[in-house]
Symmetry: C2
Subunit: 382 residues, 2 copies
């Protein structure tokens, strides 16, 4: 798709939030990327426009039949001032897998990565630089047809919004408390569990609320068929260090194929550690723990990178992992991954992509809106 990305200048820019107060997904930058789809034109009119409300017919598909996919990745600022993305190709590959499941037309993965890079370049001053901070990137696609028949939409909108985010855990990472959810189910084989789509998250809210009421941080999801096998924790993938090996549930159609999950497996193998992707029953896991063989537990995801689990409850059984402290391997994975992401460690596996700031970027931002309108054609091309 050799289309030009047009740039529409904002009348004024926002004040940036206090770097110490970022939290997660609370603040958004000055611009967003937008692109439309129709059967006749395909994906068209890619543009960077001022961040602001989107206007949709109340009958739009997204409001009734939830045709949606999204992705989450981050841009990091390195100490020497470069901007890095972490494996955006994996996110775009997954986005197309999600699209296929949700009957959403395929995207041109390379083009959307280009759009992400262009948007991040425009918003480079929004990338926070303190330890653990980054610019969270949220591409998403919604069905927009104004019609109530239950069928795939004919028209779609792809948006990319950016949010400067803080460290999920402040300066250190604290192990979380989780319990095994035995009432609610997140996903089942044949459903949409492997796709990154809004319905999976809607279905998870009830259990998440319950876990907080019970004094836990997150839930550990079991499979929807037998309620025996471990799937994910909260909205992260999960890993167990059992003696010298690391186990994680095999991708089975109801588990999200996390980019961080894939990266952790890659790193462990690179280090010569045995990783087993397998069906893991919660019963077996607790037996391993009883025998003091369960040494570390951690979740993986883009938001938290590595999230150690310190406490695990299933029915009336409780496991304390690592005396409430982060394990050695979890820490090493966290340090290595964040090191690669922020350019502190060597990127031996070729996972980062640099966002180049073109000289024209400054020029582009200065293009006048009036001029754009007068010309009635894309004012700025990539």
């Amino acid at each position: 798709m050799g289309q030009s990305i047009t740039f529409h200048k904002a009348d004024q820019l926002k004040a940036k939030p206090d770097a110490g107060q970022l939290g997660f997904g609370k603040y958004f930058t000055d611009y967003m990327f937008e692109m439309d789809y129709s059967a006749e034109e395909g994906w068209h009119d890619p543009r960077i426009v001022p961040y602001g409300p989107i206007s949709l017919d109340p009958a739009a598909t997204i409001f009734h039949y939830g045709q949606e996919v999204f992705e989450g990745l981050k841009a990091y600022r390195t100490e020497d001032g470069r901007i890095l993305l972490f494996r955006p190709d994996k996110n775009m590959e997954r986005m197309n897998q999600s699209c296929a499941r949700l009957n959403i037309p395929e995207i041109d993965e390379k083009f959307v990565i280009k759009a992400i890079k262009k948007l991040v370049a425009v918003e480079k001053d929004w990338i926070p630089s303190q330890s653990g901070q980054s610019l969270y990137i949220r591409p998403f696609i919604i069905g927009t047809d104004p019609a109530l028949g239950v069928h795939p939409s004919n028209t779609y909108k792809l948006l990319i919004i950016l949010s400067p985010v803080g460290s999920y855990f402040g300066n250190s990472i604290h192990p979380v408390k989780i319990y095994v959810e035995d009432e609610f189910v997140r996903a089942v084989k044949g459903g949409v569990g492997y796709a990154k789509t809004s319905g999976n998250y809607a279905a998870s809210l009830k259990a998440q609320t319950k876990s907080e009421e019970l004094g836990f941080d997150q839930v550990l999801w079991l499979d929807g068929v037998e309620h025996k096998y471990i799937e994910e924790v909260g909205s992260m993938n999960i890993f167990f260090k059992i003696e010298d090996e690391v186990w994680t549930p095999a991708l089975n159609g109801s588990i999200l194929p996390g980019v961080t999950r894939n990266s952790v497996i890659g790193l462990l193998k690179h280090w010569g550690i045995t990783v087993k992707e397998k069906k893991i029953s919660v019963r077996k896991l607790f037996k391993k723990a009883e025998k003091q063989k369960l040494l570390e537990v951690f979740g993986t995801g883009t938001a938290a990178v590595i999230s150690p689990v310190g406490f695990l409850k299933w029915e009336d059984k409780v496991i304390k992992v690592g005396n409430g402290e982060i394990g050695e391997l979890s820490q090493k994975l966290y340090d290595t991954l964040t090191g690669i992401q922020t350019g502190k460690s060597e990127d031996q596996l070729g996972w980062t992509q640099e966002v180049k700031i073109e000289k024209e970027e400054v020029k582009e931002k200065a293009v006048d809106k009036a001029e754009e309108k007068a010309e009635k054609k894309p004012a700025v091309t990539e």
Copy 2:
């Protein structure tokens, strides 16, 4: 909730569509109902406003985590000019059940019924009057918080939109062809299958598309656990007439508790016919068919009311039901239900509610927008 519903007059009204071309959910009326929720104010600012786009922050919960519930019901015009709603109390009861599952704050069921009636009264001229036509009513609630953390929204919007719809089947009802879906799963116990929420429909699109490619009209969903037991057909509930009895899958947490389903069961019992709500295996069903004991199959739902099934395929087995014609009981149910809905038959079970057109309705519609603004308070109260 003793709140007043304000009325905001449209500058101009639309031309009404050709009554013969209505289809389903393609045209929308001049006005919609809107109401907002915040933790501080609860549900507030109920208003009837001109139908038009809604404007939402691109980070709104609905676009990312699918927090949504909806309902579908119809207003019918009787031959003597009255307007009837069919069991709106059941729809509102279910809406609150859906809200509870999706962590959406409860609505005041009576108040929303009042809002529906008021909106339908305003739009009375949009109710089509030909056989099989009606005004479809779509209430829905969406989470609107502009924040990307995965948690229930703090703010919501409830909307009601109206669409004049034609008969699902033209003048007669044609039996549909369905096949037993053995790859994709709609819902599973512990999930959101019993709730009317967008994610269930998003998950169903792939199988629906597949069924059309294979030359079928709809799919028959099996349970997500054993892939053995019948759940629903397409987006309808399903019934089987087996000898002198009628069977339908028991509500098990993954089946939508349809209002038409409930009404069909009520009518059958009223007529002294044995109805069994039970676990029905597809194997057993096909055995009954082999023995010529499966006499009728039909789906039930608000859109089609009764949808006879004439052809059913499972693996390499095929059942033809009733020689491709609608069965006697299916026809009687269709006639009775549509008779009650349109006021032609006596409503012995007290299922209809009349929408009264108040004399003030005319006055209300004439209230000037300028006046409203000048007064800075609700211009019209219910």
